[in-house]
Point group: C2
Amino acid sequence: MPSSREKLNYTPSIRRMPSYLTIIRAFQRTGEPYISGTYIANELNLEPIQVRKDLSITGIIGKPKKGYPVEPLIQAIEHYLGWDVEKAATVIGAGNLGSALTGYQEFRNHGMKIVAVFDTDPLKIGTTVHGVPVYSMDSLPSVARELGIAIAILTVPSPFAQSSCDAVVAAGIKSIWNFTTVKLKVPDDVVVQREDLSSGYALLSVMMRTRLNRQLSEQ
Amino acid sequence: MPSSREKLNYTPSIRRMPSYLTIIRAFQRTGEPYISGTYIANELNLEPIQVRKDLSITGIIGKPKKGYPVEPLIQAIEHYLGWDVEKAATVIGAGNLGSALTGYQEFRNHGMKIVAVFDTDPLKIGTTVHGVPVYSMDSLPSVARELGIAIAILTVPSPFAQSSCDAVVAAGIKSIWNFTTVKLKVPDDVVVQREDLSSGYALLSVMMRTRLNRQLSEQ
DNA sequence: TAGATTGTTAATCGATTAACAATC
DNA sequence: TAGATTGTTAATCGATTAACAATC
């Protein structure tokens, strides 16, 4: 029996899908029925062959000379990502980042609806964040069941990451979007995507240093 | 003359560096003078060989049987990332995400100090966000010069992304951390790192769908 | 000393890119 | 029709992993 730990294939391609969607959706407003891979590639500074390879993963078939049919292409990408099925989500930790993510409207376009926020601060419990009610962590199991929550977005301070994660798992939630710096330990049937702001900042930092070095050496 | 568009090497390794730092810093509190690659690998669910390969990029030399000297290792990573040099940064757009990032203390440990926020909303200008003053976009050039701002963190709504980016570039800021969904057009000497929350969510979504399919097929 | 761990060289793996026939 | 664009097969490239000698 394969475990949930097996590696996901096409990871880089999957990461590019949302930006394809953005471009194609914007193009859709022109009313043109077909969009070419070349056009998408130009918009995103990618190679056309890469766009075609990526799109082929979704099973969409293009027409030579014309391109891909816009409406079916959007549906193919959304279906591939599972964004055509609405999922209830919760934010664990009503801090800065948690509040920002709760108010991030774009997720609605991706089939994710944040229906609850959980926190331990008595001053926050009973209030709302961007219209979403804040509950006590104690009520996580019952609220998760009632609202059919499928995804937990973890934005608690790092020292509480693993214990919050354990509570999420105990409440039967099997998908965790982890914004803490902690590598979470979870059962085999729980999937975790870690979002690490520092890793992107590390790339920017090295680009800055590299550019600096080059400028110095070119003088 | 090579352009700033050339591709960065070791991208995956660079992305892992911050998580190494987190583990090593936590280990440092034990007082042990050496940390092994095997230990780091265990903490992060990675292969030891990958940790060793990554660390070798920083130029650090380990001791067989003992491991890497903790203090020099931290310094080697920070120096490689350029995190040993303090840089002034600004957040463009005092919305949800901009405020959250302004209040994110971890950046201070990475040599980045957010010294100004810019917005176009008259109600926000003149106030502070997490203690950082909010300025009018008009004053960007002068404030950027006075405070020596090196990095702009772009968190404006997508329709304003390119124009805000142009203003940043005109103000002489040459490093942009882009949190919008827009692919920015910038001069050759400006580096951009795009942070796309949707791409991580796309991975989580496909993992969820894949797990679901497997569970169905195993029944 | 023995064995854990490093660093290097080679092999494997997966992603990107190139080449090109098919075709609307 | 001619040429732009697709989809497939092969080549290249870069990252990961394996093997193993060196060594504290």
